[in-house]
Symmetry: C2
Subunit: 221 residues, 2 copies
């Protein structure tokens, strides 16, 4: 059985991603990060989903709030609730590069050749590290950076959500039996995991469910 | 003054690297990792050297022993003391990719455009992530992964040691006043920082000092 490392934040995209990787026949190892984000409810969601999905799961501690520089990792920067021009304040410097690199480290030890990441370049916030050109460059670098990439089969970064709309993702998840009530999408969920309705992540989710014609079972404040 | 993030392990190469970056006029921010390595004496050395060099310094916790897979991060794998064929057991999966990615995150927050890493492709252990082709690929990826890379001046990964022999590095360090007695190179230094003399890192260091014609002031067991 092919092995994969799946980045699992606990939000709706990554949970759909895990369901897709499982459906494609991968033996999945889910990876989450306690990176100094504003709340831990998404990690609790990730843990619950990994258990329900019967996949191996690690939460790695890496405190990016030591650097700050983002509304998600710096308490002095508020999460914006109005649309911003360009790349928003919720962008976390180099986050996907860091997360994928650590996923690569785990994959090399596991002898897994596939990394799954739920990036999306359609209904997204304009983050540079969600674009296909970043993913392809990462993959090329991974194959130069590692013993397994240099001496064996190449690593592949799988992004099955990259060209889907939010509504497409939700429809796909429903087909695969994803329980979206378990997921936490909001940038500033409260300690019980209730969402704010007003941040960019909530707005994209709400619109996605409307377009898909499904009921959003997330708990809102 | 140009800013740089400098990866500082506390070993002889990275300490020479910091001296070179300072000589080149960079305002340096040194970055070390408590990554599950076998001993903390190199981190104590890094801290001492950062203080003496009067540079900002962060030690980031990221426990790569959660994955294992290397003699440096897995207690069940002994540090080899005889030369091995190919890439040795001291290779830590994706370590330079992970460390550079985290350095990139800090650099983006600092508005630094230069990352310094003490990789060397002459007197080295054959690690894939010490080669120029990896460094160039990382650089290209960094400029796609980040807001600062996409919208501003490109990031550059500076590797002033990459084509130097160990003896050249030592001679350069002496010119710049580096105190090598402060550095810890050994893969399995004891709690006092005393080196083993027999691991690959010690052997390369000892030979380098012999060729350079300098006394090695490291404390050996």
């Amino acid at each position: 059985m092919k092995k994969a490392v799946v980045l699992l934040s606990g939000g709706m995209d990554s949970v759909t991603l895990l369901a897709i990787a499982k459906q494609q026949g991968y033996h999945c190892h889910a990876l989450s990060f306690r990176y100094g984000q504003r709340h831990s409810s998404e990690l609790i969601a990730a843990e619950r989903i990994a258990i329900q999905s019967e996949v191996d799961h690690k939460i790695i501690d890496l405190d990016l709030s030591r650097f700050g520089g983002s509304a998600l990792t710096d308490e002095n920067i508020d999460v914006p609730i109005t649309p911003s021009e360009g790349i928003p304040l919720t962008y976390v410097p180099a986050r996907n590069m860091v997360f994928l690199s650590i996923a690569l480290a785990w994959a090399e030890v596991l002898a897994a050749k596939h990394l799954f990441i739920g990036v999306n370049a359609v209904d997204y916030s304009g983050y540079p590290d969600c674009r296909p050109e970043f993913i392809r460059a990462f993959e090329a670098t991974a194959n130069l950076a590692t013993k397994a990439g240099v001496t064996g089969e190449a690593f592949e970064v799988c992004t099955p959500l990259i060209n889907l709309s939010k509504a497409d993702i939700i429809n796909k998840g429903h087909e695969l039996g994803v329980d979206y009530a378990q997921t936490v999408t909001c940038y500033q969920a409260d300690p019980e995991g209730k969402a704010c309705r007003v941040c960019d992540a909530c707005l994209l989710r709400i619109k996605g469910f409307e377009v898909a014609g499904h009921i959003d079972t997330t708990r809102y404040r």
